[in-house]
């Protein structure tokens, strides 16, 4: 599975989305379950999936899927890998 597919599956699983609801430009404001608990789950999931554990500040600042992509890229984790 590519990193792109891993991220898609992670977001679907963390926020309990239907596959058809997923977009790479989804914003936090569009997802009801991306609340404070979702922030925690997403941080745990990013760590499990990509091996990088976001700090609480980083996890809280994520405002959309593109921010997760940027965070991973800044840690050398490319999505096209």
């Amino acid at each position: 599975m590519s990193n792109r597919d891993k991220l898609k599956q992670l977001v679907i699983d963390v926020f309990l989305l239907d596959e058809t609801e997923f977009r790479f430009d989804l914003r936090r404001t569009e997802i009801d379950t991306w609340d404070s608990l979702g922030v925690v789950s997403l941080a745990v999931g990013v760590h499990e999936t990509f091996g990088y554990h976001p700090t609480p500040e980083e996890a809280t600042a994520l405002a959309g899927v593109d921010d997760v992509i940027a965070l991973l890229a800044a840690r050398g984790i490319a999505l096209d890998a």
Binding site: D13, L16, V40, V44, G45
Partner: protein, 321 residues
């Protein structure tokens, strides 16, 4: 913020109970146990403040002594400030496990779902323990209550919201729990209160997510919160260890004897009952995924985690790795 309220010696509680500005709000069992020892105490009806006969209006209430098991103490915590907003609350548990006597959390069932409130104002002012209540706990109740304490300690230790300082405290507490028998013993009162107070600084996880969903869904008097925690701790640890390295990593880093904890968790569980619950877990899995406790699990609980979890619930599931 203190982790747990101060512990009052029982002699102080005796003295408080005889004061005219103290009211005692006790479960029927606790009242029967103490009524003769406290002949001058003012007793509130167990049903709550609405049904209570108020003390004389000229005597403001300075202290409420609440005595009962976790659900009862939670009810008092939610109603005490309404009844006597300026009074101190001394909580006396008659059963260990929930830690209601020490935590700022209250849990109740509403509309078939577990609700909870975390509010520092709910934390009792002081706690007191009466070792005599331990003798009234049956072996089955004791095992379930021990499972509740263990679930608080282990899930708090693993919580993604716990920092190193909290994990160090919980690792030490886990060491203390390992030397206690999973049976009726008055020492469980104090460690149980401490486990609940410490986990309230972080979060719990999937064990509590399962218990919070299944208890109201099953509505079986024999499957209360504590027993469900005792049942699910072992399979959740097995599943966690097979899914993620977090259990091994944290236990090694903080000096927790992982194998001893796994053996204890297995002693607390009941394999036959656990297997019988697999269909209920499957039926309510979506609700488990949405439970707030599940969402702060140390291992991400995904929709497709169900198969691995139910495999870990099977009698032949064995050890965690």
């Amino acid at each position: 913020m203190p982790d747990a309220p101060p512990v009052l010696p029982w002699a102080d509680v005796d003295a408080l109970a005889s004061r005219p500005d103290t009211v005692v709000w006790a479960s029927p069992r606790a009242r029967r146990a103490l009524e003769s020892a406290w002949p001058t105490a003012t007793w509130l009806d167990a049903a709550g403040p609405a049904a209570a006969a108020a003390p004389a209006a000229s005597t403001p209430i300075a202290t409420v002594i609440a005595i009962g098991a976790g659900a009862f103490l939670d009810r008092v915590k939610l109603g005490w400030r309404e009844r006597a907003p300026d009074a101190a609350l001394v909580a006396v548990p008659t059963l260990w496990g929930s830690g209601a006597e020490a935590s700022p959390v209250a849990v109740w069932t509403e509309g078939g779902k577990k609700q909870f409130r975390l509010d520092q104002a709910l934390r009792p002012t002081a706690v007191a323990y009466h070792p005599g209540f331990a003798a009234t706990v049956s072996p089955d109740q004791a095992r379930a209550a021990c499972g509740d304490v263990w679930a608080h300690a282990v899930e708090g230790f693993l919580s993604p919201l716990a920092g190193d300082a909290l994990r160090t405290e919980l690792a030490a507490l886990i060491g203390e729990l390992l030397v206690l028998p999973p049976a009726s013993d008055a020492r469980w009162f104090e460690v149980g209160g401490r486990a609940a107070a410490l986990q309230a600084r972080a979060s719990v996880g999937l064990v509590h997510g399962l218990a919070h969903v299944l208890e109201p869904a099953l509505a079986r008097p024999d499957l209360g919160h504590a027993r469900l925690c005792a049942l699910f701790l072992a399979p959740v640890l097995r599943w966690s260890a097979r899914t993620s390295g977090v259990w091994r990593e944290l236990t090694e880093r903080f000096g927790v004897d992982a194998t001893a904890v796994e053996v204890m968790a297995a002693r607390l569980s009941e394999p036959t009952v656990l297997t019988s619950l697999a269909p209920a877990v499957e039926a309510h899995w979506r609700a488990v995924l949405r439970d707030p406790c599940t969402r702060t699990s140390s291992v991400l609980v995904r929709p497709d985690s169900l198969a691995a979890l139910t495999a870990a619930m099977a009698p032949a599931a064995g050890g965690p790795s």
